[in-house]
């Protein structure tokens, strides 16, 4: 194996056991202040039967072992800080560190949700400003920041639809989803009590107005539309689509996961959307952190506003207050007010960019995706001819002939020092390679990525077996996911 492959060179990483295996009886890594009140007998205070024995097999390690443990483990990971993270639909953009800094300011980080409103004005102001800016970006009349993530926003949104329709006399029965929809859309519709009807996309990966028109009737509560959709294409007929739905009294729900393609350029509220969620951990740069936390702001047109979860911010006599008097509200979707720490980061992002900067970021995101598309289109089969927005989707038809699928190419990409693109989604694409570079990538990194993809395309021709067994340069070779699911071991045991 040559020492340098593309942008990587082999080095070593430290092995590390699990905390439980490192554990030695009696080791500790903590120190508590001396108790400044009399100690008390737990068995007496709580009743002997309520007091537990020592927590069996719980870790016992020193402080240096803790820092080493997690530092070593971190070196087995990949993050945006190390390079391009082209996961389509995930908008893995640079996470500005100023956001982390401001979220840690003591007066914000240590604000208790029940501290008096008079001593929470700063936190409430931050939320109010963010609601306002998001409303402008979405083109919606009101915004709730309560939902904890995208899927939670979807759930909130569909409950709003139900509450609204119910107030109109009939909650209806069905939610339509295109076959390209993200899994959370049908899952959400289902847990929100609706039957899901899947609509076939047309040959351009878009919603077919004719198919839609045939499907819409008085049973349809809403359609969940992702725009740009999951193949990275803007639903050209969106205005017409919204018209068809509205004509039958159905609501237009927009999954705003791909809002990074639109901010400052086009507004969902202007093309017929009644309610949408936005994943602040995508478009607004709050870090994914290996899977969360996120925040799923939901924007609505005014007819849905009375149903928003409470409490809602209200200004009275120049002071912010929480309004609980919301007779039509669907109720809370979570305790307290939302993932405030994430909201702080999102607002910092918006402030750092400003209006003009946000639009520039959108355009750069489109440019980067189209650049990749242009560089790769001779090597991989583009899924649809329609113009790409912030991501481009290929299919693995060329490579499949050699027996290498999108998943294999993805694993080989790891050897080249990149996180893979999104694999096999959306399902309507044959072996999808879904690539979203985001606006924060420098051209050199995009070029290195394209070079790697082209090199792999050539490797698939020359040595498909090698590709099918990738990765070869990682400390962990291909992981057997099938066995994991067959006999699940989801916790350590001695």
């Amino acid at each position: 194996m040559p020492k340098t492959l593309g942008k990587i060179r082999p080095h070593f990483t430290q092995n590390e056991q699990l905390l439980f295996e490192l554990s030695r009886p009696g080791k500790t890594g903590y120190q508590l202040p001396e108790l400044d009140v009399p100690d008390i007998d737990a068995a007496e205070a709580l009743g002997a039967s309520n007091v537990r024995e020592a927590i069996e097999d719980f870790p016992e390690v020193s402080e240096v072992e803790v820092i080493r443990h997690f530092t070593r483990l971190s070196t087995w990971n990949y993050g945006i800080d190390l390079g391009l993270f082209p996961l389509g639909s995930c908008t893995m953009k640079y996470n500005p560190r100023i956001n982390e800094a401001v979220a840690r300011i003591a007066g914000l980080a240590w604000a208790h949700p029940y501290q008096p409103e008079s001593l929470s004005q700063g936190a409430m102001e931050i939320m109010a400003v963010l609601e306002h800016h998001l409303g402008d970006i979405f083109g919606m009349d009101e915004v709730t920041l309560q939902p904890s993530a995208g899927a939670h926003g979807e759930y909130t949104g569909i409950m709003l639809v139900r509450a609204y329709l119910e107030s109109q006399g009939n909650p209806r029965k069905k939610v339509l989803c295109p076959d390209s929809a993200h899994g959370t859309n049908p899952a959400t519709a289902n847990i929100a009590g609706y039957q899901v009807e899947t609509l076939k996309s047309n040959s351009q990966g878009m919603i077919d107005p004719a198919v839609l028109a045939a499907a819409v009737n008085e049973d349809v509560a809403a359609m969940m539309i992702t725009n740009p959709n999951t193949v990275g294409v803007f639903e050209e007929n969106i205005v017409q689509i919204a018209g068809i739905l509205h004509a039958k009294g159905a609501q237009v729900y927009m999954d705003g996961a791909n809002l990074n393609a639109l901010v400052g350029v086009a507004r969902p509220g202007d093309f017929g959307v009644d309610v949408l969620h936005s994943n602040l951990h995508k478009t607004f740069s709050t870090p994914h952190g290996g899977g969360g936390p996120g925040a799923g702001a939901v924007g609505v047109k005014s007819h849905l506003a009375p149903f928003l979860p409470g409490p809602r911010l209200k200004k009275a006599d120049g002071q912010w207050t929480w309004n609980y008097d919301l007779p039509q509200s669907i109720g809370r979707v979570r305790a307290y007010y939302g993932n405030f720490g994430v909201l702080v980061r999102a607002l910092a992002y918006i402030m750092a960019h400003g209006g003009p900067g946000l639009k520039t970021a959108t355009i750069d995101a489109l440019l980067n995706a189209n650049y990749i598309r242009a560089r790769l289109k001779d090597h991989f089969q583009i899924a649809y001819d329609a113009p790409s927005m912030h991501e481009c989707v290929f299919e693995d038809t060329k490579q499949e002939k050699q027996g290498a699928r999108t998943g294999d190419i993805a694993k080989r990409l790891i050897d080249y020092g990149f996180h893979p693109y999104t694999v096999s989604f959306p399902m309507i694409v044959h072996g999808a390679l879904m690539i979203e570079p985001t606006e924060t990538e420098p051209k050199a990194e995009l070029d290195a990525f394209c070079d790697a993809m082209i090199a792999i395309a050539n490797e698939v021709e020359a040595d498909p077996e090698m590709v099918k067994h990738a990765p070869h340069l990682t400390r962990t070779s291909r992981v057997d996911e099938v066995s994991a699911a067959r006999k699940p071991v989801v916790r350590w045991k001695p």
Partner: protein
């Protein structure tokens, strides 16, 4: 680059959008600010909040000391800026820590399996209820009246939307514990689960075993809820429960005006395929080395779509990691000592005060100020740079003369003495 795309101008990138969709003005957001100005802005907002006050608020959100290592670890870019570990070969760091988290959740709760995290304690409650529904095929729920009121509201929202029925059962006005007789009276063969919090919202430790026996007698599951994770260091784990859900905010996670926190859900092995959200499992790589990966994803939305156990996708991974570091730092001995200190502080604070309930309590309790309303007591404390307790009238009209007070290892004796003075 534009040229490589075959374009002449940047605006061509979105020229194909319908004209009516395009925004014909600039966003109504001022131009970009520097880091310095942004810091200034947020510092100014922070200054309007209660900074530098001692606080005796708990009620689901606790002020515990955060060991510095917690923040050091989650600040590492390899954790902070990584995605959900779908690509196991370059996500073993995240996967291993989640596996450890799942294990420690089991060790603490006495359960057999736990997932990678839920949004928070409150949203975990309806998830548990829906799980019970799937397991039992029943669709009514009994929830303790002393469950965290906001958790209950979240459950109600979900139930109302899904046209499911949630009924309360009462608490004993003396002990503050659930009224077992009322529970028994309300149990029937339509009940999917009994939902119970311990320590409950009043800080009182429940008799989980008795409740679970009643529930099981009627074929219902017992869902045990907790909001103060530190209590798990000292309290007998709810081994008789079928599902345990709760909030790990106490483990290194700052109050942050209510979020982000980390919910947990744990259950018996036999229910593992009904658990919502992500699970990490152990396996091997092609060389036979131990490795971890996301598993049983056929439960999840991205595979199962409308048939998934939940729609949850993004969870609270980084916060769960923070809690994992916290648990590692404190460890077996430290977590117990920490809990013991909380117990001692709260009992010191309570001593001599007019406590409303006589059930055993951990680090929170309900107190009735002797000579004024809770609101007046809080106002007096604020003058002394102390945020008092939570007046209970807003959630429990029958307790409008009382407040919920919390003490933790961070509560200083001098401040507690001030509180006692005001409440006596």
């Amino acid at each position: 680059m534009l040229e490589a795309c075959g374009l002449g101008h940047l605006s061509e990138l979105y020229a194909h959008l319908p004209a009516s969709a395009l925004l014909d003005r600039a966003l109504d957001i001022p131009k970009g600010l520097s880091e310095y100005e942004i810091t200034d802005y947020f510092q100014a907002q922070a200054a309007k909040n209660a900074d530098g006050y001692a606080s005796f608020l708990g009620a689901g959100v606790y002020s515990h000391y955060r060991p510095v290592l917690c923040d050091v670890v989650v600040s590492r870019g390899e954790f902070l800026t990584s995605y959900t570990p779908y690509q196991a070969e370059i996500a073993q760091g995240t996967l291993t820590t989640i596996f450890e988290f799942q294990t420690m959740v089991c060790q603490l709760t006495g359960m057999e399996v736990a997932n990678a995290s839920m949004y928070d304690g409150s949203t975990a409650v309806p998830e548990a209820a829906m799980m019970a529904l799937r397991i039992t095929g029943r669709s009514s729920f009994l929830a303790a009246a002393n469950l965290h009121p906001e958790y209950r509201q979240v459950l109600d929202t979900a139930a109302r939307n899904a046209q499911l029925h949630v009924e309360s059962f009462g608490y004993d006005a003396k002990t503050g514990r659930i009224d077992l007789a009322d529970l028994e009276a309300k149990l029937n063969s339509g009940i999917a689960c009994v939902i119970l919090q311990s320590p409950n919202f009043f800080g009182v430790v429940e008799d989980v075993q008795a409740a679970s026996e009643l529930a099981h007698k009627h074929g219902a599951l017992l869902v045990m809820v907790f909001s103060e994770a530190v209590s798990l260091g000292l309290l007998e784990p709810p081994r008789d429960a079928d599902i345990v859900v709760g909030e790990f905010q106490s483990f290194a996670i700052s109050p942050s005006y209510g979020g982000p926190f980390a919910g947990i859900i744990a259950t018996k092995e036999k229910y593992v395929r009904q658990i919502p959200g992500r699970l990490v499992g152990e396996t091997k790589d092609a060389d036979g080395n131990r490795a971890f990966c996301l598993t049983l994803s056929t439960r999840e939305q991205h595979i199962r779509r409308e048939k998934a156990t939940s729609n949850i996708c993004t969870n609270q991974a980084l916060i769960a990691l923070m809690a994992t570091v916290f648990m590692s730092v404190y460890g077996k001995q430290g977590l117990r000592e920490l809990a013991q200190q909380n117990l001692a502080k709260a009992h010191y604070l309570a001593a001599g005060l007019d406590t409303r309930f006589n059930g055993p309590f951990f680090n929170e309790f309900v107190v009735t100020p002797k000579s004024c309303t809770p609101e007046a007591a809080n106002a007096a404390l604020l003058e002394k740079k102390i945020v008092g307790g939570l007046p209970l009238g807003r959630f429990f009209p029958e307790l409008k003369d009382s407040m919920l007070l919390c003490a933790t290892e961070m509560s200083k004796r001098a401040d507690m003495d001030v509180v006692k003075e005001v409440l006596l």
